[in-house]
Amino acid sequence: MRLKGEFQGQEWQAEAQLIKGQLWVHINGRTLTVEPEKKSTRRGGAKNKSGDIVAPMPGKVTKLLKQKGDSVAAGEAVLVMEAMKMEYTLKADIGGRVEELQCSVGEQVSLGKMLVKISASAETAGIKA
């Protein structure tokens, strides 16, 4: 829907629409999205910096490069996903040990699904602290 208003003496026009609970607003060349339940305004989202690797998009797991118990360095590739015909390599944010694999090769996963849990190793944790 089209919205009009005035802010500090300045007239504005915007487009707004609620889609599946998310509010979309276009104003002055920018598109903003708002999650109504949290009442917080954001553009995009926050990047996960923990030992959890979650699916950044819906797609298919095509390769697991680490097994349960393997040690991983921060930035090392852990698994490969395919979405929209492109491959995406998911890397560990922290160094440590693979604690749990919650997906398998060939599995179709949804956005945000937990794929791999990595527990920070003592030495990495030490360096970080």
Binding site: A14, A16, L18, G29
Partner: protein, 495 residues
């Protein structure tokens, strides 16, 4: 000369719409060969007839030769337009069409084999004395051989799917250590996207520009070129912004490269639309590959040259001559295309899927919008993330850039995130504005996700108003359903 009554379209999205437009204008009916997932698309709503050729995965639908041929025949089509991607560069498909009595709108299977297979194409180029980038294109495809050949060429080396295109199955190898993982990944991508794991290697030029020439062979065997495009703005070897003409060519280089492009196509008896790609570095050009099909970025050539390439393809397949000597084929002004991808610019470009809300493209002179989805359509993760193309024309490059920025700012797309914020940053970057960008441009300046800008006081106030207004509409009763038409939502839940 024959006149087609009905043409089948073996494609989807915005290119299917582009072909339907050309057919409608020529008085030809269309049969859309679509997957189960693509009933909620603009092409589906526009085509005269629609035939479902299989489930969503491309191997079972858009890449399935038998299903496409059967669909075209069942739909009563006389010819098939393959668009780009999918089966467009597949000579087996072109042959299967011929066997089934269908006209394949494109080059002959033989020309496709000679030019489309990057390995045999290089052999022809070598014979004609065309400058090539050093590389390996042997039949020994073991990872060990590929690694040792890469070492011989000298890192960085690029690995590419032999049957590929569009950036899929391409990786840059910077050292021996990472070579194995990336070669295997390119082989897998080649297998999944094109049905062949075959790859070849090439020296990776670090500061090259991507320049390509539009070629066209008419039904009499005459081949001409329709000047050049520059597509140096690429990410993961996928083009993002294209323009015509290239801001980088001197008249002398333009003449020489145009001659090489025409000569390659002439030697392969090329028919229809095709593109000869080059890399340009330090005023030397290297032949890269030929795409034996219509290009995603064909509209920029159409706008500066005053031609309709899709109609020309169809007319050529009918046996009608196109681009007569009396037609002035000279470039005028400047045209830029931006590919709109459904992705989140603030999360490093991860794909964004979902129900498409409102879509509004601003009207005005010198703008063209090619899109395959409209409000209420679902953007799924089955296919590539390009949801639309925005093309502008103006008298010169500087004005075309300014027009593009204005148009992108005024474009409204709700429901999925788009790369518009990212495109706006690129269009304002000094290197792009000067026209000196290379294929490393994105890696050099845009490798990190965009910083989320803070909201202005005005934006906060508008958001607050929108929250109140939208809520009041929702509670107003019944209007929510008309605002978000979603006929396919239940269908999707069933998958």
């Amino acid at each position: 000369v024959r006149k087609f009554k009905r043409i089948a379209i073996a494609n989807r999205g915005e290119v299917a719409v582009r072909i339907i437009h050309a057919c409608e204008e020529l008085g030809i009916e269309t049969v859309l060969l679509h997957s189960e997932a693509d009933v909620g698309t603009r092409a589906y709503r526009m085509a005269t007839k629609k035939i479902c050729i299989g489930p969503a995965p491309t191997a079972q639908s858009y890449l399935n030769i038998a299903a496409n041929i059967d669909g075209a025949r069942a739909g009563g089509a006389e010819a098939i337009h393959p668009g780009f991607g999918f089966l467009s560069e597949n000579a087996d498909f072109a042959e299967a069409c011929e066997r089934a009595g269908l006209v394949f709108i494109g080059p002959s299977p033989r020309a496709t084999r000679t030019l489309g297979d990057k390995v045999s194409c290089k052999a022809l180029a070598k014979k004609l004395g065309v400058p090539l980038v050093p590389g390996y294109e042997g039949d020994d495809q073991s990872v060990e051989t590929l690694i040792s050949e890469a070492e011989k060429i000298g890192f960085p080396v690029i690995v590419k799917a032999a049957a590929g295109g569009g950036g899929r199955g391409m990786k840059v190898l910077r050292s021996k250590e990472e070579a194995r993982e990336l070669i295997e990944s390119a082989q897998r991508e080649g297998q999944s996207a094109f049905g062949s794991p075959k790859v070849f290697l090439e020296k990776y030029l670090e500061k090259a520009k991507h320049i390509e020439f539009q070629i066209f062979g008419d039904c009499t065997g005459r081949v001409i070129h329709l000047f050049d495009r520059e597509c140096s703005v690429q990410r993961r070897h996928q083009k993002i912004i294209e323009e015509a003409l290239s801001p980088s060519l001197t008249p002398d280089l333009r003449r020489k490269m145009g001659e090489v492009a025409t000569s390659l196509a002439t030697h392969a008896n090329y028919r229809g639309a095709g593109t000869v790609e080059f890399l340009l570095q330090d005023d030397s050009f290297y032949f890269l590959e030929v795409n034996t099909r219509l290009q995603v970025e064909h509209p920029v050539t159409e706008l500066v040259m005053g031609v309709d390439l899709v109609k020309a393809q169809i007319l050529t397949a009918q046996g009608d001559p196109v681009f007569p000597e009396t037609q002035l084929l000279a470039p005028r002004g400047h045209s830029i295309e931006c590919r709109l991808y459904a992705e989140n610019s603030f999360l490093g470009g991860v794909p964004s899927t979902g129900l498409l809300g409102e879509v509004k493209f601003p009207e005005g002179p010198g703008r063209r919008y090619e899109y395959g989805f409209e409000a209420g359509d679902e953007i799924s993760s089955y296919y590539d993330p390009m949801i639309a193309k925005v093309i502008v024309w103006d008298e010169n490059r500087r004005r075309a850039i300014e027009k593009m920025k204005k148009v992108l700012q005024e474009t409204v797309i709700f429901g999925v995130h788009t790369n518009i914020p990212y495109l706006l940053e690129i269009l304002s970057h000094p290197e792009f504005v000067q026209g000196t960008m290379t294929t490393r441009f994105i890696d050099t300046y845009f490798s990190q996700p965009l910083q989320e800008p803070t909201l202005s006081e005005l934006e906060k106030a508008v958001v607050a108003t929108a929250q109140r207004s939208v809520r009041s509409v929702e509670t107003g009763g019944g209007s929510a359903a008309t605002e978000f038409p979603s006929p396919w939502l239940t269908y999707w839940r069933g998958i």
